[in-house]
């Protein structure tokens, strides 16, 4: 049954509280300082003025921050998969003493978020002079309890005969783990990676407490600093930085919408 116009408008109207703020962000980013001072809440800029973007690039090394953020999120996501595969394999497919205990330990870490860990990790890394390094940003997240759990769950549905057959063909355990299994676990691996990537790409807390140095600083941190540095009305510059910060996340969302939504919903339902 096709919807009538008023109801169609109603559907879009529901999304307006989410769409208008984005529009306001983009609109502000194209304003100039005199415009902003004269009429701060004018809905539209006088034109597509790029001054604010130029100011962002002048205030911080956008390219370097972008590279740091992407490298960090990529390294974390890949490391998590690389470690979760063998761990999940051992936990779901092999019989050995202490299996229940090991699984319990992995699940228990769901209880220990970054906010609980950061004080001792900070003092530990400060002692070995590793704060302000990529290591400090990546290594504490090399294991994801949730990722390990999801991959273990997915492995439960892989028939053991398949692994036995591969063993008979002479495949070693590492070949089985890194060659045979990944294609079979693809949806779970993609979901685990995407969630981790987006989470860490967006993360503000950990880079904030672990870095003080430009060379390893990430984009969320840099953009948040834009606001702290400035005095007075510099909202056009802050919003330009904000467009640069949210655009990659929104683009990734547009490209992987179905996987991300399925992963979000599946996290609850175990599908």
């Amino acid at each position: 049954m096709p919807l009538r116009w008023p109801r169609r408008l109603g559907l879009v109207g529901l999304a307006l509280p989410w769409l208008l703020p984005y529009a306001w962000m983009v609109s502000t980013s194209f304003k100039t300082l005199p415009e902003l001072v004269a009429a701060p809440s004018a809905p539209l800029p006088s034109g597509l003025n790029l001054d604010a973007y130029a100011a962002v690039f002048e205030a911080m090394p956008v390219g370097a921050y972008l590279l740091n953020t992407t490298l960090m999120a990529l390294a974390i996501g890949l490391l998590q998969l690389a470690l979760a595969l063998p761990a999940g394999y051992a936990l779901s497919k092999l019989s050995f003493r202490g299996r229940g205990l090991a699984f319990g330990l992995v699940v228990a870490t769901l209880l220990i978020p970054a906010q609980v860990r950061f004080v001792p990790v900070f003092t530990l890394l400060a002692e070995v002079r590793l704060t302000n390094t990529m290591t400090a940003l990546v290594l504490p997240f090399a294991v994801s309890a949730l990722g390990t759990f999801l991959i273990r769950q997915a492995l439960l549905s892989v028939p053991p005969q398949l692994i036995e057959a591969a063993r008979l063909d002479g495949a070693g355990e590492l070949t089985i783990i890194y060659r045979l299994l990944p294609p079979l676990l693809r949806p779970s691996l993609v979901a685990a990676f995407l969630f981790s990537f987006v989470y860490h790409w967006n993360d503000y807390f950990w880079p904030l407490v672990m870095t003080t140095d430009d060379s390893v600083r990430t984009l969320p941190l840099g953009v948040a600093l834009l606001r702290e540095q400035g005095t007075g009305v510099r909202w056009h510059i802050v919003m330009a930085g904000n467009v640069l910060l949210s655009l990659p996340a929104l683009l990734l969302f547009a490209l992987t919408q179905r996987q991300l939504i399925h992963a979000a919903a599946g996290k609850a339902a175990g599908r």
Binding site: L3, L11, V12, L14, A15, P17, P21, Y22, W24, T28, S41, L83, A90, K93, L94, S95, A102, T109, L110, L111, I112, P113, Q115, V116, V119, P120, T123, L139, A142, V143, L146, Q153, P160, I163, E173, I177, V198, N202, Y204, L208, P220, A224, R227, V233, W235, V238, G241, N242, A249, L250, L252, Q257, L260, I261, A264, A265, G266, A268, A269, G270
Partner: protein, 298 residues
């Protein structure tokens, strides 16, 4: 479940070694270390000094502990209630085929994907008392503007509203998934028996969504309990400590006051409350696990 015997008896342990090593260094050691550090006075410059329970006593008598805990719980309760109701309402309204509904769903969910910093900066500008869009809109309607973030009574509710704006899309997606599991024939049968829209929702849909509601509220509670980014970017704990939630208080103790011991004592309290929340969530999850294989809370 059929298990294979390992080729070499050491294989399983070697495969688990990297994972357990990381968990030991960066999860379990820090937890124990926080407990230990909470008994010391340490400014990161001079050697730590054992002080027993003094950190806890000081936090208690200064009122910071109770104040932060209360703020965090109130914030959490507000966020969970509002985002659950809003998420459910949006899911019910947008649970239909068609491109427009899909567009609306994606727009609302996108706030969940964008970073907390983006959301916080965006709303900092919208809620700005002088040039912000919200006050400008209110004035156009002939209403007075408010100091959303600097009025002590409004600051925490404003931060909660921003958090709800970000999380509602996630609750909506979970409810949409839950709605797929409501059998159409039950709703049709109820309709044939003369049940109206509200009655069908109240007596068929809502009871069947119970597990989803349990998941939405418990994950929301844990997420909102850890609130930090919006506070750091939007109010820095102010005005006059009215948004000084637990994680922000921890951050302030270590990085602004250089009091590692006090920060650790707050970490211990934070962990214990989180533990309570998670055990409650686990119970909800275990209760529903009997029927189907579900993944754990995250």
């Amino acid at each position: 479940m059929k298990l294979l015997s390992p080729r070499r008896p050491t294989d399983p342990y070697l495969l688990l070694l990297p994972t357990l090593l990381i968990l030991g260094c960066f999860f379990f050691y820090p937890l124990l270390a926080a407990g230990k550090l909470s008994l010391y006075s340490w400014d990161l410059l001079t050697p730590p000094r054992f002080v027993g329970l003094d950190n806890y006593r000081a936090l208690w008598s200064e009122g910071l502990l109770l104040h932060s805990l209360e703020l965090t719980l109130v914030f959490s309760l507000g966020v969970v209630t509002a985002s659950t109701i809003l998420g459910l309402a949006l899911a019910l309204l947008l649970n239909r085929p068609g491109r427009l509904a899909a567009f609306a769903r994606a727009s609302i969910f996108s706030a969940y994907i964008v970073s907390w910093v983006s959301v916080a900066l965006l709303w900092l500008w919208i809620l700005d008392a002088d040039g912000g869009a919200l006050n400008a809109a209110l004035q156009r309607l002939g209403l007075p503007g408010w100091r959303w973030l600097s009025d002590p009574r409004l600051a925490l509710p404003s931060l909660a509203a921003v958090t709800v704006w970000k999380l509602a899309g996630y609750a909506m997606i979970l409810y949409l998934a839950g709605l797929q599991d409501v059998p159409a024939h039950l709703l049709e049968a109820a309709a044939l028996d003369g049940a109206g829209r509200w009655q069908r929702f109240r007596h068929v849909t809502w009871p069947l969504l119970r597990p989803t509601t349990a998941f939405v509220t418990s994950t929301g509670a844990i997420a909102s309990f850890q609130v930090f980014d919006v506070v750091r970017v939007m109010t820095q704990g102010g005005p006059m400590d009215h948004t000084n939630v637990l994680v922000y208080a921890i951050y302030e103790q270590i990085f602004l006051n250089l009091r590692v011991g006090r920060a650790s004592a707050l970490v211990v309290v934070f962990f214990l409350v989180l533990l309570g929340l998670t055990l409650w969530q686990l119970r909800l999850w275990l209760r529903r696990e009997g029927a189907e294989g579900q993944s754990p809370p995250a």
